[in-house]
Amino acid sequence: MAEMSIKKQRPKNLDLTSIRLPLPGKVSILHRVSGAGIFLMLPLLLWIFQASVTSPESFEAFKAVASHPLAKLILAGLIWAYMHHFCAGIRFLLLDVHVGVELQSARQSAAVVLAVSLVLTAVLWGVLLW
């Protein structure tokens, strides 16, 4: 019976250091990490947008802040977070409508998401901040 098998003692491993996550699992947890990162940085993003459109002075002030190495690092992280969340999100939407749900194609699309978001991050960072 199903009830019996549910209650049966089964081996359990919740040790994060010994779990080898497959590629789609890595994309999934990075989707969470990138989403949480964007949420935490929302005040910064709103401030950046406000500074960039309010006045020529605030625009220059924003450019000065953005040229600082630490700011460039944070912005690179945010650009990656947006790109990864965007690409992985499109992958999840496709999975929702049963596109690419087979193991092989799901692993391939996970690799594509990781690669494409890194390339887009490098390109955008180069265009915007270099």
Binding site: M1, A36, F39, V53, F86, I90, L93, D96
Partner: protein, 115 residues
Amino acid sequence: MVNRIVVGAHYGLKDWIAQRATAVVMAVYTALIVAVILVARPADFEAWRAIFAHGFIKFASFLFALSLFYHAWIGMRDLWMDYIKPTGLRLALHVLTILALVGYAGWAASILWRL
């Protein structure tokens, strides 16, 4: 047998759909704003500001912001539900998340409608 009554409650279906609908709004806006910037090629502050001062872009940007904040609420609520076990702390984080996001929505509106 799992004898659970599955009628009468939606088990998060509304949030599931809202998360995806807001995601699509944000994806469409992202494609739109990238296309506009590539075509307009704003070279200075005035050109950059003019893009967002345009009536339709302002409207679309506000919808993007609202979609982002609603999407962020569902996502953060899921994270708090998954990782924060003490009920009181979880409730406090839920309330703080809502307060922050409602505040951000007002902030975004004030930025856009001052243009």
